[in-house]
């Protein structure tokens, strides 16, 4: 399973090209990628930056389970899930999910499944730093956050 799955929690910028290189597989004609980036707005207020806090000892195995579950559920060959922690500016990549598969239908569905499950279960939290200097933890149950 090792080389089919790449799961990482990182504190430095996520390098897309590196991740894509790791998904190379001559039998996979389709690759889908999802990137989550820090947006400049959330529910009507202006966001300056976001601090991501993780329960790392649990987040990593949960990300690993999601990767394995995705490989079991869809006929895909490889998956990469990376999440960044620490202080991120607007525009920086917070999460990456990439999937390689023979065909595009399953590549899209598997990638979507991966990011949906991450947003449900991975113990990572974001605290927004707003334009007025205030900071607040985002509660994923309220408002549009789960659509992010």
């Amino acid at each position: 399973m090792e080389e089919r799955i790449r799961v990482e929690l990182v504190s430095t910028p996520i390098r897309i090209e590196d991740v894509m290189a790791g998904l190379e597989d001559p039998s996979s004609g389709a690759v889908t990628l999802f990137l989550g980036r820090v947006r400049d707005h959330h529910e009507g207020h202006e966001v300056r930056s976001i601090h991501y806090q993780a329960y790392a000892e649990m987040a990593l195995p949960v990300m690993g389970s999601i990767a394995e579950e995705t490989l079991a559920k869809f006929p895909v060959s490889r998956i990469a899930i990376l999440h960044r922690v620490g202080h991120l500016q607007v525009g920086e990549v917070s999460v990456l999910v990439a999937v390689a598969s023979a065909h595009r239908d399953e590549a899209f569905r598997a990638c979507r499944h991966g990011i949906d499950r991450i947003k449900q279960d991975v113990p990572i939290w974001k605290k927004e730093v707003l334009a007025d200097g205030t900071e607040e933890w985002v509660d994923a149950r309220c408002g549009g956050e789960t659509r992010g």
């Binding site: 000892e57 939290w125 974001k126």
Partner: protein
């Protein structure tokens, strides 16, 4: 009766002003009972505690899972990663 240290994150860590909260642990205490005991002991945080899931040894625990003193227990507020 033994005691257990419970890990706190995000909004709970800020509210408690600490990375851990200690709780006396009667034998046979379930994850759900642990959360209820905390809410009684810290009524100011009860509303936030009620939104948490309990993790035992890095996995989400069911309500009826029994917590042992040597377990790593954490409270997981609604996650907002991604």
């Amino acid at each position: 009766m033994s005691s257990i240290r419970i890990r706190l994150f995000a909004v709970l860590r800020d509210r408690f002003g600490a990375e851990f909260v200690a709780l006396d642990l009667a034998p046979g205490t379930t994850a759900r009972a642990l959360l209820q005991r905390l809410a009684v002991q810290y009524p100011d945080h009860a509303r936030h505690l009620s939104t948490c899931r309990v993790a035992v040894n890095h996995r989400f625990a069911s309500d009826t899972e029994v917590v042992a003193p040597e377990d790593e227990v954490a409270l997981i507020p609604p996650v907002s990663g991604g």
